[in-house]
């Protein structure tokens, strides 16, 4: 009892949004149902609302109220706190993979494994929203490619070809630099963007060490002692040593990076393909100039893309009665052919769908076709965060420290290996 009081007191001290948007308890059995829906503001919000509107047009008895949260680690906190206190919205949108595992899904979420509509969902996706045979999430977006977004006009003007190995990439960069264009855009003002050289290199890590993810989770493989994993840190340093990054990159923001890429002032931006949605919004005329290639590794023979699974919609265990029924109907709609068709119309896809039988529309962006071609050819691997729950929260800081020349790759890798131990212990993994 005392522990409960203590938890309550401390939780109420640390969380700001605790009492914002609490649920109405008394659900009316008939009449329209209003579902509250928590999403991250920005791109996710637009996509979620588009799905809600299409669904409401077909189901006049259901209304939605969107609640917004910040992205990143601030958003993680809000989701965890609201789940822990039973104050979660009726549906919410959140990452799959390692972040989902930290939500304690078996206690806090509704199991959807036995719902017939789950048969429409791709098995590779289901793996990332499952725990011990229970399945919790339904997608309403496309998978993403993580790699290098590049400006095709720059490539055409300079007569460059797509690099298949890191050496070719480095050679391209020198030519681009000689032409007075920024070879590699870096935006460390939004430090999460600094991680791409490491995270998007996972296809190459896995090609060299097929068991890396399992051994990494079991505290056997380390970044500092695995040369293929270490490579990402070295790439960051190489960019710094050779002056590939633009002026002022240490404080530049993600949006500035997109502008450089879209306007052709920068040639490459190591990024996730969801950035395409932002480019379509802000520089619609340039969106078709942007292409995608996988981050090249040591050998041209092994070239493939690292794929990010999509985030998913979940129903918390606190949703009951008519609301639960309506929430499940919404989930069913999201993975139905009608739902996919509406989604294609509302938001241009930034990667392939992970719903069985879902086709990309004919007018899809060239970068999305680039990503799909890696997947269709079998040259893709999921990012490490979907294979292992171990990801240190300070990776981005280590990446910035290396990319600004403050830390050597070796030092950063060794320190990062220590940093992930906190995460592994927090999750209670074996062997740490």
């Amino acid at each position: 009892m005392l522990k409960k009081v203590l938890t309550l007191a401390l939780v109420s001290m640390v969380s700001f949004s605790l009492f914002a948007g609490g649920q109405q308890e008394d659900v009316q059995e008939s009449g329209p149902v209003t579902l509250t829906y928590l999403v991250a503001s920005g791109t996710d919000q637009n996509q979620a609302w588009a799905a809600c509107e299409s669904f409401m047009a077909l189901n006049p008895d259901v209304n939605f109220e969107l609640e917004l949260r910040p992205g990143g680690t601030d958003g993680d906190n809000i989701v965890k706190t609201r789940l822990a206190t039973g104050e979660m919205t009726d549906i919410f949108y959140y990452n799959a993979g390692s972040l989902l595992q930290a939500l304690n899904p078996q206690q806090t979420l509704v199991d959807l494994a036995d719902e017939p509509f789950m048969n429409n969902v791709d098995d590779a996706f289901k793996m990332t929203v499952s725990q011990e045979g229970h399945v919790y999430g339904v997608p309403n977006q496309t998978a993403m490619g993580g790699g290098i977004l590049y400006n095709k006009k720059v490539y055409a003007d300079l007569g460059l070809s797509i690099p298949k190995s890191w050496a070719e990439f480095a050679a391209n960069n020198e030519k681009i630099k000689a032409a007075g264009i920024t070879p590699v855009i870096a935006t460390y003002g939004d430090s999460w963007t600094a991680q791409l050289f490491i995270l998007a290199d996972y296809y190459n890590v896995q090609a060299a060490n097929p068991d890396f993810a399992a051994e990494y989770t079991a505290n056997k493989a380390k970044y500092a002692t695995t040369p293929a994993a270490m490579a990402g840190f070295k790439y960051l340093k190489e960019g710094f040593d050779k002056g590939w990054y633009q002026d002022g990159y240490a404080t530049a923001k993600y949006n500035q990076g997109l502008e450089l890429l879209a306007t052709g002032k920068g040639a490459h931006y190591p990024m996730l393909s969801f950035a395409l949605t932002n480019i379509v919004e802000n520089w619609p005329d340039s969106a078709s100039d942007i292409g995608f290639f996988a981050q090249p590794g040591p050998s041209a023979d092994q070239n493939g893309a690292t794929i990010w699974m999509l985030s998913a919609n979940y129903i918390p265990a606190t949703t009951k009665g008519a609301k639960l029924e309506a929430a499940k109907r919404f989930m069913e709609y999201l993975v139905s052919p009608q739902g996919i068709e509406d989604m294609n119309r509302n938001v241009p896809p930034s990667g392939p769908y992970l719903v069985k039988g879902a086709e990309l529309p004919a007018d899809v962006l060239p970068a999305v076709l680039d990503i799909a071609s890696y997947i269709d050819a079998g040259n893709s691997a999921p990012a490490l965060e979907f294979l292992s729950p171990v990801k240190g929260p300070r990776l981005e800081q280590f990446c910035v420290a290396v990319g600004t020349g403050q830390m050597s790759p070796e030092e950063a890798a060794a320190n990062y290996d220590k940093d992930v131990a906190n995460q592994a212990k927090q999750l209670g993994l074996e062997g740490w």
Partner: protein
């Protein structure tokens, strides 16, 4: 009637239960969370449940390889901000208590930054300190000076934040000094008139007689510097990399990452550190305090 007796009769004229609302509020919102945070710092806490793990969090926090940078930065930040505020505020206070024209206007100007939200100041300055488009660099380059990457240069970022902190906190320090200067009896100034000179007045009357204000300014701004967070967070987020990380930003990032037990342990350590540094300082100042 002696002073002591009159105090006593004042107290007893109120029933004890008048204290109750204050005690309850203070207990629920301060004492209880403080005590429970000591407990949770000994657990692996996921918000959903807490497992007791002894001192493992303290061990993990103190063995963090990046902690030394944070500690060093915290110390530099606290010493620099409190030192600069003390040094700059006194001459400003002397100026603002002298017979200059538009005194009221200047006083408002100096105090104004105190009234603005720190986050707003942080965001504004981080825009103004942008390497190419920021106001400060545009101004510098227009008079032919080189542009400075205020927040992007790892060896400069912390000091840029220090400058902004001093700019913002100067008002409070100045007001404390002005109070001290205005409390100096006129006789001292009359006496020193014979020896002439502003310098004599400043060095031998003002500096010694505002000593109590100096102590207050140092203590307040030193504590403020040790636990400063909002300005650093708004301006650099502790970056680039770890270059401007301080103890509080390290703790906050651990909290963000969901290491609730670990970050609570960090807070307990911060609490102890502030106490250990500030109590001797306070005791020393109390001993030396003048009774003007």
């Amino acid at each position: 009637m002696s002073k002591k007796q009159s105090n006593k009769s004042l107290i007893s004229s109120y029933p004890n239960w008048f204290y109750l609302p204050a005690i309850i509020t203070f207990g629920i919102f301060f004492i209880l969370p403080t005590i429970s945070s000591f407990y949770y710092s000994l657990t692996r806490w996921t918000i959903f449940d807490a497992t007791f793990i002894g001192f493992e969090n303290y061990e993990a926090f103190l063995s963090d390889p990046m902690l030394s940078i944070g500690l060093k930065n915290t110390f530099i930040y606290a010493v620099l901000t409190s030192g600069l505020k003390t040094i700059i505020a006194l001459p400003v206070a002397v100026l603002l208590t002298s017979g200059i024209r538009f005194k009221g206007f200047y006083r408002s100007v100096v105090f104004f930054p105190v009234l603005i939200s720190t986050i707003a100041i942080g965001i504004t300055f981080s825009m103004m300190m942008q390497p190419h488009t920021g106001l400060i660099n545009v101004a510098l380059s227009s008079i032919g000076l080189p542009m400075v990457d205020w927040l992007g240069n790892p060896s400069l970022a912390l000091y840029s934040v220090v400058l902004v902190d001093v700019w913002q906190g100067l008002g409070i320090a100045t007001v404390i000094y002005m109070g001290g200067i205005l409390a100096i009896p006129q006789d001292y100034f009359d006496a020193v008139k014979l020896d002439g000179g502003f310098w004599i007045k400043f060095r031998h009357v003002i500096i010694p007689l505002v000593q109590n204000s100096t102590f207050t300014v140092i203590i307040l701004s030193f504590i403020g510097g040790l636990r400063s967070f909002d300005l650093i967070w708004a301006m650099t987020g502790g970056g680039p990399g770890f270059a401007s990380d301080v103890l509080t930003s390290i703790i906050y990032k651990q909290y963000q990452a969901g290491f609730y037990g670990l970050s609570t342990a960090g807070n307990v350590i911060l609490f102890l550190m502030v106490t250990i540094l500030v109590f001797p300082l306070k005791a020393y100042f109390d001993r030396k305090e003048l009774d003007v």
